[in-house]
Symmetry: D2
Subunit: 450 residues, 4 copies
């Protein structure tokens, strides 16, 4: 009799295989978090007088052990056990006897899933953010070095205005900083404890949900049990939507690289160790890594949509449909982390053809500057614009001497110091958050105050 | 010669119609904001010594006037003018002469669009949030009144646990509070001034972008001009994604209503003034409003996807593709506002069949409570669970006396006071934000300190 | 008492406005088709002895009249009438008295909508296909003329193999031919008569549904009334999915044009009448039409997703949710027709820089041909590949004399004659289908055999 | 030196891992098809005099062997080999020496992928269709048995008209028949041979592409090599779009089952072997299989969107981005097959509560029939409708004697014989297609005429 819900009735084998699905694999990501959640739950039961001190001690020791095994990837889930939660309860019962049978008091698999998933998602946001900081720093470092190296600025894929390598790279770093700030919004959704929702209607026992929340490092309790269950999916959509937004920033970078590394543009070159060849054309060196990274950005958008599809269309409360949400979210986070890492490697390895870029900043790109010079001298801008257009048409246009002053963000005044400060601030904040999460995993298995 | 970019060459008529598209209609939403942005730009030009005091005064007076006309819906855009920005510059030039030709110095249509859109989106977030607060309050008020009226709690669409009308309604209100908090994250993305990005590479003039930002009520400058243009679409996706998340909360409410108002469930009734009939079946009263509200939720998800589709797949910098983003965002906000308003009306009008709901809370829904009672008396929960299952199978099950204590969120301790405080806090914050936005529109046309 | 379903109860005004939605506008596209469907229904009632000969005659004359008015855009729908079907029944009753009250026997608004929509969608497929044929012919004509003009063939956006303008243009025409063939699959779904489904459970009257189907030009009856209603949405998804697939073909063409018309590639040029300028940069000529056409392709994909979103997530049978499906489908077809027309204009106007393209077909693009020449002489290909790679590395590579023979589809043997035959065949088939649809509209109002 | 494209340069390890991705796993689905495609290619080379008879014989024997191993799952792909195509060429070279190095003449990995994928997709369509036929037959068999057992017909989730179990089940079967017919459209896209496209610009060798097509069982050659590569993704979208459309049919069935099996509706019951329990509520039996099948339908829609996302947004010709398309398509087909199988098991196992359903067909469901009876007696329908409405309001309504005649599809005349004929016809057609595909795999390795 292996499942938590089993009362001894037979179950059709094909149907059972279908209902279990990928859980025994996907849930391995949740096992360690289920240990953490179970430890906090046991301590809350104890505080309510519903679990003896010895039982608590036995459970905490064993959970700590199981947690270490799970972290090391040594705890597995059988198809009969179906999911992380049955596997855990059985492991506990096998190791500590009756105390293992006591731990499910005042909770259900539903809130066990919610707690484990939320801890996992909270950790995922922090891990993705930490890697984004590193990527932003890599972009900024290269921007610093090439702040004043000329590059044509394009609009409509047509040469438009004078720009620099630094301005281009800093633009991508700035986009990532926005995503790092937006991560706080995703985290705010996740920073409330679902523990105590049970099947979605709460627990008729005097459990102190605020204590559980505190033990798990949440800022607050998600009070409504109906909302706890209804937020399943909503949070997954917020998380994968954030990954898709990051992908939107990186997609532009990789598209730029695909374009700038063509024979025709030629501003950027990938080292040989980053390119691959053709099975038929001996002369080719292809930027596969950039193309696959660009496709990965679309893939993350696709996973966000798959997640949204799975999360939608249901009335309130728990439906088994929600189980399918786990796999795409775990996959999307894994894929995002790899994308960010590979992008950083590419950014660090890029080679620039500074000469070719400088040559492409042709005189007519200074037409706007010429109109501005006339306007500074008093001519209305619209008239200056028409005058320069006429010069261009007549072939008499001469680019003006360089501007002495520029607005913040323009070449010559890119504002890289501000950018660097933002990156440092983010680096600091996310490191602190990571430390807090680690502290939870260290202290939750140890009785004592927090 | 009507367009800002025109240099007198003929343009194929069919192509021109295609490139202009819906802009003359869609851009009407942006006209007032373009006046505000233009006033701030004029004052920044003046501060940099690039616009004389008299020109500034003339422009501000006229912009204030045009702003009032736009707000009143009396300013229109012709197909020849193409968009809000040409319409505005031409109106200015017509009314104040050469000063009108001076205002485009140091900006481009691209950052004019960015500024107007961002002001519009910022206002849209605040307006949607203000309405969400009202809806949450309506739900909470009804939850208060029916806090203890019994309702079956469902899982898997099967009767599961005792619940109450109040617990159900409060769950939806709690979901909206989460969305109100998440709105701050969307707002944070929008709360930086794009003004000064020009064509996406900044302005070679000593314009004080921080001044423009302050005049427009932004907390900061979005420094990188590359990032300003690259964030077009990213912000629209964040806004419509938020609307889709709100829709995810409301979809569950309307699905519940569709279900609970069937003959079979019968817990809820819509008054006649909220139902419609059939053209063929004389006996029917149909809950069309609830079905259309549910479909509207899917529609908002669809608009979010349309927006994401339009925003994706491009290299850095400006491409005309981005123009198509305006229409779905404006439409989605309008549709969301209507949905929220209609939902509030429905919530206020709902009639409950309290007797029928109470009767549906049948004894076996207390099976968990019975197992808990045994567990409180010392039996391990897993054993208690099996014992109660055996009683149910044998037909000997008796529901226990009601629990004396419950955890926060469970029936008997719903935590509605906390919910009410959250709603009040949100009401206060969003009212303040609205007041700040109104102050910008009042002061930007008036020279003087802010 | 204006609505078909009204029994005199008051309806909340805000709720009524919400439930009516866009129907009075969107349904104008359906009015003419509703006249056709109603004529066929009246004739079927008459054949079953349920409508007198004089009533039938009066109805047909009036319906023919209304049909002409609707086609001319002179029939409107008031907000009180809500939709095309009430508007039509009221117009009939006003003009022919009691006979108008008899026509709703044996049908419901649900199957009236189904019939009108299906007729509309059938016509839309034919109209889109007719325009696609014209575009494919325009591409093929230009491919013929430039069949042998050299153009580099790219893979990974890197120069790869020798190609020609003709091969490039013929590739896009071939994609459109596939879409024209696939249109038959969409049409097959639509080519069954829903008439007689009533509210989704059929009609307890001896109506001859095969007769109605024949009068409306359908090949068969969609027998199951449950399936008729359940197919609402499924067909809309098939239609907009087809438009999205067409957009997938055109997206590549417009991306190619955006790229090939850059200063850097320079193989293609848009005439001035097809470009626009910048409001700030006097020197710019921008390919806005190509960018907007590319964005329109993404927009059509977005509309397909919006449609799919609206069509999904519901149990069997009619739900009012389905009403929202009408607007995006009508919009998507309109947008697709405009895209196809604009694309044809662009294709016809393109100017090619044949010299520049020829120069870009550099010697190393013949590396594969060199390896082939060695292989034809007996060397295993993999060894020949390595040998040529070594020559390239050593700088000793010489392109071979041109190949004497090529496989079908390769430069020198593009197979344009086959392509032309396919286009002619499609042109013929779709013209025939259009004629058949026109015949239905001519004959359905005239009593007599078909 | 393991990769087909390798010329001996080192490749960054992390980058290589990223570019290889899931291919070594995903490509196992393609290995057997690559053997088939390679055999046809070898025979075409031989026919062109580019491969000797002994080499051909050696290759065919070995390919037949490898094909059997791949079918048995005994052929694997190492990370160094990257994909199916390198693995195959290396296995060939290892077993037959120089002949293995000759086989890549006149093709590239790109068209090898195209050929293998197309063969795989063609087979997938046939396999899915074969299973759909079985499911449709299961639905039809149950519909036959319960053709006249009363069930309320719902609109707006409100009881509306008299229906029967048979009408309900036949409706779902009819939806599947439409999908089986639509499968022909997907197959038509796939039924052209891409072989000979090489890198996307054809082969400068006199290869007979029509011969290759014939050997592979394709009806025609996909002539344009540009179109061959451009159709990558387009076909995947068509296939997964078709799976999503099937899912749209099944979603309604599973939603119906979720609803009809509630305590409140109670028309349908799942046997115990198809339900699971709760970890906290001893009394629960949950219809998890139906919920997961419903979610699986949304999941297939999600995979279609993921596929569309990956397929879109690129210029013409090959980009490495396309590699990511393989995994979601293979996954979606696997998931669809499982869904269809599980649905059939559920359909066969369903238990009906005929009494309860009959009791739910309450008198007012005959209100339309009553109005029809009046109309048959001469009263205009609209007046009859109002008269019955008045009787219902007054409580004087009496249901009429049952109708003697009904239109095709209505209860009493469901048209199940037509449905059965359709199923038989589909069963026959798809069995024939499957036989043809099997014949290709039998004959392609054997020299001789076909």
């Amino acid at each position: 009799m292996s499942q938590l819900w089993s009362k001894g009735l037979p179950l059709d084998a094909a149907i059972h295989r279908f209902t279990v699905g990928d859980d025994p694999v996907t849930d391995r990501a949740l096992l360690a978090h289920d240990c953490v959640g179970s430890a906090a739950h046991a301590r809350t039961l104890h505080a309510a007088g519903l679990l003896g001190g010895e039982d608590l001690a036995a459970l905490l020791v064993t959970l700590k052990h199981l947690h270490a095994e799970a972290r090391a990837g040594r705890l597995s889930i059988s198809r009969e056990q179906e999911d992380a939660h049955t596997a855990l309860e059985q492991a506990l019962t096998a190791r500590v006897g009756a105390a293992g049978k006591r731990i499910h008091l005042g909770r259900s698999r539903n809130d066990q899933v919610m707690v484990a998933l939320r801890l996992w998602m909270r950790g995922a946001v922090v891990e993705v953010a930490r890697n984004l900081v590193v990527l932003a720093a890599a972009l900024e470092a290269r921007a610093q070095r090439h702040a004043d190296h000329a590059l044509p600025g394009y609009t409509h894929l047509r040469r438009a205005m004078p720009s620099t390598y630094g301005q281009w790279l800093a633009g991508h770093a700035a986009g990532l900083i926005e995503e790092l700030e937006a991560a706080q919004g995703v985290l705010a959704r996740l920073d409330r404890s679902p523990a105590g929702a049970a099947a979605g209607f709460g627990v008729p026992l005097p459990l102190d949900r605020a204590l559980t929340a505190r033990l798990l490092g949440f800022s607050a309790v998600q009070v409504s049990p109906v909302d706890v269950i209804n937020s399943r999916g909503r949070h997954e959509v917020a998380l994968t939507g954030w990954l898709a937004s990051i992908a939107g920033v990186l997609e532009k970078l990789h598209w730029d690289l695909a374009l700038y590394s063509t024979e025709e543009f030629g501003f950027v070159r990938l080292p040989d160790a980053f390119t691959t060849g053709s099975s038929i054309m001996p002369q080719k060196r292809n930027p596969d890594v950039v193309e696959l990274a660009r496709a990965r950005c679309r893939e993350l958008r696709g996973y966000a949509r798959l997640t949204e599809e799975l999360a939608s269309g249901l009335p309130s409360n728990y439906h088994r449909d929600l189980q399918l949400l786990k796999s795409p979210v775990v996959t999307a986070v894994t894929k995002a982390l790899e994308l960010i890492d590979v992008t950083r490697r590419v950014v660090e390895a890029l080679e620039f053809d500074l000469e070719r870029a400088r040559a492409a900043v042709t005189p007519e790109l200074f037409a706007t500057a010429a109109a501005y010079a006339r306007a500074e001298a008093g001519e209305p801008f619209r008239d200056a614009y028409q005058a320069v257009a006429a010069e261009l048409a007549a072939g008499t246009f001469e680019p003006p001497a360089l501007a002495r002053a520029a607005a913040l963000g323009a070449p010559g005044r890119l504002g890289l110091a501000e950018l660097e400060r933002s990156i440092s601030r983010e680096a600091h904040e996310w490191a602190e958050l990571e430390a807090e999460l680690e502290a939870v995993e260290r202290t939750v298995f140890v009785t004592g105050d927090r």
